[in-house]
């Protein structure tokens, strides 16, 4: 029988007992650390960040499903059953015409995806990727008061790439919140990473304009869209981030709206999915790391 390799947690570097499924300090799956120790190489962490309800879970779920179905000539192998949970949850909910449940703030309830990915071409190298699905509220809390969620700080400090998801629909309709939240996140990353004021953050950061089906113009010119509608973010990126790219993405083809007997508001019902621009930001990140 294979003996588990005792290795410190990849995120918080604490040791755990051999029977622990999750790290007792940060709740990351312990198998990420044991598997990477067994393979003798450290995986790259790619963080997916964004406001609550921006669509991080749906984006990551569809991205992983596309990768595991070899979309874009990628080959992806999940490392452990826990990596499949998120795509299963997202796909099964969407096929029942509902959005997946909210990601709780409790770290042990987050989804973690640990995949080996490579392009299907000769001599292409495998990249080991860890992608956690963090709760938007936890991110907001950590950004507002650093050290509230130490696991987020550790994750962002160790990330080799980040996907910053922004609600393009809200931004296009004049809301300033997506701009402010994106600025907060980037300034948090800036304060974590940059050691000197004149040094820019080199971590590849893909700014993904989600729900772009509501404002199709951002597919044509995502940069121009950000410059016009998310100008504060645009300026911060120009000043402090040297490796940023902008993308537009959409998952839902059409939305219906329903009322429920036990609910006062209107419930959005995803009638069908039409994926667009899901793979491109990931592809760009993979090329950069």
């Amino acid at each position: 029988m294979k003996q588990p390799v005792v290795a410190p947690c990849l995120i918080c570097e604490q040791y755990n007992s051999s029977d622990a499924q999750l790290c007792k300090t940060c709740s990351a799956p312990t198998s990420i650390a044991t598997d990477s120790a067994a393979m003798g190489r450290k995986p790259s962490i790619v963080s997916i960040v964004g406001e609550s309800n921006v669509g991080k879970t749906v984006y990551l779920g569809f991205l992983l499903d596309m990768l595991s179905q070899r979309a874009g000539d990628f080959e992806a192998i999940p490392k452990g059953a826990f990596s499949i949970d998120i795509q299963q949850t997202v796909i099964s909910h969407m096929s029942r015409r509902s959005f997946p449940p909210k990601t709780p703030m409790e770290v042990n309830q987050w989804y973690w995806a640990y995949y080996q990915v490579r392009r299907r071409m000769q001599n292409a190298k495998w990249a080991d990727l860890v992608m956690p699905d963090m709760a938007g509220e936890s991110l907001s809390a950590e950004v507002a008061t650093p050290q509230t969620f130490g696991v987020i700080r550790n994750l962002l400090a160790k990330s080799e790439g980040a996907l910053l998801l922004i609600d393009a629909a809200m931004a296009a309709h004049g809301s300033q919140n997506p701009d402010f939240f994106a600025m907060k996140i980037l300034s948090y990353i800036d304060s974590l990473r940059a050691t000197k004021r004149e040094e820019k953050v080199s971590m590849p950061t893909a700014v993904v304009l989600c729900k772009a089906d509501h404002c199709p113009e951002c597919f044509d010119h995502p940069r121009r869209f950000v410059e016009a509608n998310l100008n504060r973010l645009w300026n911060l990126c120009k000043s402090r981030f040297e490796n940023v790219e902008f993308f537009a993405s959409s998952v839902i083809g059409s939305l219906g709206y329903a009322t429920l007997a036990d609910h006062e508001g209107v419930v959005p019902v995803p009638l069908h999915t039409a994926l667009r621009g899901v793979l491109e930001p990931f592809e760009w990140i993979l090329d950069q790391i």
Partner: protein, 393 residues
């Protein structure tokens, strides 16, 4: 990519029979949200009981002009920034209550890093506002200093019931323009404890485990909140103060607690605490071994409960706010027993009691108070015995 892959074409998840959110249903006004007091069926606070004003806050999920999702939506100014961060980290969010129903109620208690005590009551407050399924978890919490907590005998269960009574059905689900301090009624154990026989049995087991200072995860087939309340009333106040716990909440390592109490859940709690520093115990079937050092005390509590005098034990426990070693607890048990039978003692028995309880053995004010009462009772008995004694010729 596989030719069968849905990503070769536009994905259309439009299967017949897929559940559409109640098509054709007429929209009706949602049922009014009930507060924890209504759900628990708590009687109104007793007339004339003492009241205190405390700092409080609400942690739940709402949509506001600055964002959406779970956060502290209202807090009185007395709750400090560092406390707010800790509260945000440890409060339950989506899907954290063990019971999915609208009638779920839970509570939590822990001491903040600032050394103030947080007691919270949790319930569901309607459907999650983003309509992504599940109920919205609502937390109303108070932050008490040592003096305020001592007024409740360090009993977090009693505080939780007081919060439930104070907020009623008026849950805060919009950012309030004004948020004043909360007034809590300081109830006695008699107002709080309503344990039936089987709950009392679970509570007795829990109280024994609480005497040992270890982290445990418990499930019970009985009402978890009543079990906790009854167990705390059987436990000295200095132990209650360190009994950080959650009741009716799912286990999360982000909420480190002394113990977790949850309703029976088909083994979910046992699975979740594996690898963490919690020993799993099913209170319905557990037969905890009575620690020898506390044997006399536990026997005393058991006898009082059997004779329907739990309130006496709870009142004594309320006074034991400073650390008492096992020997002192056992001595309290002896003193209470002596007090109970002093009117039936003969001269010889009275003399023995006088010798046994001549001097206090500790600095505890509770011991001094009981000793004084016992001496008064013994003097009264001695006088009575003298009167009864036939005059010698």
């Amino acid at each position: 990519m596989s030719p069968k892959s849905p990503y070769l074409r536009t994905v259309s998840i439009n299967r017949p029979g897929a559940a559409v959110a109640n098509p054709g249903t007429t929209a009706t006004v949602a049922a009014p949200v009930r507060g924890p007091a209504s759900i628990l069926g708590l009687s109104p606070e007793p007339q004339g009981c003492e009241k205190i004003t405390v700092e409080h806050a609400v942690f739940t999920s709402i949509r506001s002009h600055t964002g959406e999702g779970y956060r502290l939506i209202a807090a009185t100014p007395g709750i400090r920034q560092d406390e707010r961060a800790e509260i945000t980290r440890r409060c339950p969010s989506h899907g954290s209550l063990c019971d999915d129903s609208a009638n779920a109620v839970g509570m939590s208690f822990f001491t903040l890093t600032s050394e103030r005590h947080l007691i919270a009551i949790h319930c569901h407050a309607g459907v999650e506002h983003t309509a992504r399924g599940g109920q919205r978890v609502y937390t109303h919490l108070v932050v008490l200093d040592n003096a305020q907590f001592a007024q409740f005998g360090n009993d977090a269960g009693r505080v939780a019931f007081a919060i439930a009574r104070a907020i009623g059905d008026a849950l805060v689900l919009k950012t309030p323009t004004r948020f004043d301090s909360l007034t809590l009624a300081v109830t006695t154990p008699a107002d709080a404890v309503r344990a039936d026989k089987t709950t009392a049995e679970s509570a007795r087991n829990l109280a024994i485990y609480l005497l040992n200072n270890q982290s445990r995860a418990f499930t019970t087939a009985n009402d978890s909140l009543q079990t906790l309340s009854a167990a705390l009333s059987q436990t000295p106040a200095f132990i209650r103060a360190r009994a950080a716990c959650t009741v009716g909440l799912k286990f999360s390592p982000s909420r480190p607690m002394r113990f977790i109490l949850a309703p029976k859940d088909g083994g979910e709690l046992a699975r979740n605490v594996r690898g963490h520093e919690y020993e799993f115990v099913d209170l319905s079937t557990a037969t905890p071994q009575v620690p020898q050092t506390f044997a006399a005390w536990i026997d005393f509590v058991d006898r009082r409960i059997k004779t329907g005098r739990l309130n006496e034990v709870a009142a004594l426990n309320d006074e034991l706010t400073t650390h008492c070693p096992a020997e002192l607890l056992n001595r309290f048990a002896e003193m209470c027993d002596a007090m109970n039978c002093v009117d039936r003692l003969d001269a010889e028995g009275l003399e023995k009691a006088r010798t046994r309880f001549a001097q206090p053995v500790s600095q505890s004010p509770a011991e001094a108070k009981r000793l004084m009462a016992l001496h008064v009772a013994m003097d009264r008995r001695a006088t009575a015995l003298k009167k009864d004694k036939p005059a010698t010729p």
